[in-house]
Amino acid sequence: MRRVRTALLSLAAVTTCAVMEGCNKNPATPASSVVQSAALPGANHALPPAAAAPADDGNWTMPSKNYAATRFSDLNQITPANVSKLGLAFTFSTATTHGYEAPPLVVNGTMYLITPFPNYVYALDLTKEGAPTKWVFKPKPLAASQGVACCDTVNRGAVYDSGKIFFNTLDGRTIAIDANSGQQVWATQLADIQKGETITMAPLVANGKVLVGNSGGEMGVRGWIAALDEGSGKLAWRAFNTGPDKDVLIGSRFHPYYAMDQGKDLGVKSWPPDAWKIGGGTVWGWVSYDPETKLIFYGVGNPGPWNPDQRPGDNKWTTGVFARDVDTGQAVWFYQTTPHDLFDHDDINEIILADIPWGNGRRPVMFRPARAGFFYVQDRRTGQVLSATPYGYVNAYKGVDLKSGMMIPNQDKDPKQGRVTRDICPAAPGLKDWNPSAFSPQTGLVYIPHNNLCMDFGAMQANYIAGTPYVGADVKMYAGPGGNRGALTAWDPINRRKVWEIPEDLPAWSPALATAGGLVFYGTMDGWFKAVDARTGKLVWKFKAGSGIIGQPISYRGPDGRQYIAVVAGVGGWAGAVVSAKLDTRDPTGALGFTNAVKDLPMKTTAGGMLYVFTLPR
């Protein structure tokens, strides 16, 4: 009886605390509940689920490192004590100069690199000195696809599974090539550039399925996620994110937790007639997978157009998170982070799977540092929001009502057609955009590289012509409070607070890497590759690369047994387009408003595409 009451009190405490700011109390946990995990380090904090985060074999086979998306390497040779000796092992020029967002993959002595358009795949032989090229695969995507890619012609990564490398091309194909020979095994055309669709995301391979989603939320496309059979490339299922239930694969398994997401054919009813056909809801970000429940989790992009007055209604199923069965695609639950999104706050950020102490045992949850500015902790079985805490400055929303799950908007910041609404924080790229954070089971912290940007937003009527932008907004972004445009924040997801933070002059647009050696690696847009102590945030090493860094750093064990750190430096993406696309800084609205925020970037860095691999001296 006492345990039940304590558990209930803990539940009440967490719920109350999530609503109140600055409440730092840990839910009360009776001592006996941690008996089973007392032997593990970090037992009092979050841990990734073992099935989704298996032991590290020294390789890096998928961009998120594992299905739980920890981006944590178990290698511990490089520590804060010896990192000052970290030096270059070798370099490699990818011969491209657009934004480089992908991580290198390392599989048993071979490193694989995928470039932005034209999406070359290189294989480097790590067993030989200087890592010579084994082969190059050139998929030759259509040059016209560059004209419908909103935010630089990037590619967020390839993935290795069962002897094959899987990746997407900008012109909408998913290709599987043999990892040894570089020969194409199959290629499937999934997206149509004539409609404005492209594919930039890194696929996920899970349970024999290759999961792929489209891009084009700014081009009036209809968003979807598809699963291809790993062996043949044939389409197994495709689930749209707008439209009638049968297109969205909503059936008897679908049980959304909150009332706002319950109803029939909401993907049609929450839009003006036919607006859902060009309503966006793309899947251009990250997919996570729980092998125990065979569920994939992914976030959905923004509704189109950006001008909200043209699409009254909740605009389901955009800017939310879906859980689907990996084999059939049937939806299991959905949570809409921002119904009737007003600010292009796509919900596609990484979803980190973790088990957190809860009452008597552990609760399976997900961590989501969302674009809207809140760090969500949600039960991954149901989608219930356990907490939603701002991890930076937010004035566009007043908070999340945990009872109804709804985001409480700030009416003052409502964009209206024909007017300019000023000082909206976070800006359209959100408090954090696609670049994923890393989660260290050692420290229990999530390392979030993110933005500190606010914007002015002028909404105007958008005209739909297939293959052209469908936006309807003039945007101008600038630094948020404090003047720094970005930061790396170490966040405690259980206590819902910042542990330390490193402000950055430029938006922190690179992903983070956490290692068991106790280090966090990340890059800055002007080319500094930095290592900081994971516990204290103290800068312990840095290196100036030839171009800004927006790519995922990785750590792997080389054939000689040493720990290596690798990253490709090539500034670009939405934030760096002013450099990679040579935009004119005299127009602040360029690059959907980003030009104004990084007018100084062309003086601080130049375009590039160079791989840097570091290690300790012998």
């Binding site: 700014e218 932008p469 003039d474 101008k476 040579k582 935009l583 127009d587 360029g590």
Partner: protein
């Protein structure tokens, strides 16, 4: 003739001449002629082998270049046909900037019109079937004004959107250069 008579004759003649010099620009509501008027791909900047002379500026260009109603209609079309979605207010984004002095495919009005009508290989859509040639010429006239080429009295002094760039009537005039420092 008396000197007064002579003076009045001269004054009348001078006034008539002065008034004749007031050239009110022509606002035409229909293209002249209606139909296909944009040449495909002819450019003075490519190499014309064997001594062929480069093509002269199309005679129709006069109707649109430096023509204020044409530039105003071009501004309307630039926003509505989503040019602003890729090129923004000249700064560029998905598409290259239009307000600088570097032109991959030429910055003369007939070259710009040709780029709009034909499309270009790295992502510029082809508008020949979606817009009339008159509309494309007007868009080309407006695009030239983004980089400060038409005369200041013809350009629009305000954009119909959020105040962002310096008004075109205040920016200095810049000549165009054909160059492609952008890499594909």
């Amino acid at each position: 003739m008396s000197s007064r008579f002579l003076a009045s004759v001269l004054l009348t003649g001078a006034t008539a001449l002065a008034l004749a010099a007031c050239d009110r620009e022509e606002r035409h509501s229909r293209a002249k002629p209606i139909g296909e008027t944009i040449p495909a791909g002819e450019s003075p900047d490519t190499i014309w082998p064997g001594g062929t002379p480069a093509p002269a500026l199309d005679a129709r260009a006069k109707l649109y270049d430096n023509n204020s109603p044409a530039i105003a209609e071009g501004q309307f079309l630039y926003m509505k046909m989503n040019c602003v979605g890729c090129h923004f207010h000249g700064g560029g984004g998905m598409g290259p900037p239009l307000m600088d002095d570097e032109w991959r495919y030429g910055g003369r009005i007939d070259q710009i019109a040709s780029s709009i009508a034909e499309g270009r290989p790295n992502g510029m859509p082809a508008w020949r079937t979606k817009l009339t040639d008159d509309q494309i010429w007007k868009l080309a006239a407006y695009v030239r004004s983004l980089s400060g080429q038409p005369s200041k009295d013809a350009v629009s002094s305000r954009s119909e959107s959020m105040s962002a760039t310096t008004p075109q009537s205040l920016t200095p005039r810049e000549p165009a250069h054909t160059s492609d420092t952008a890499q594909q």
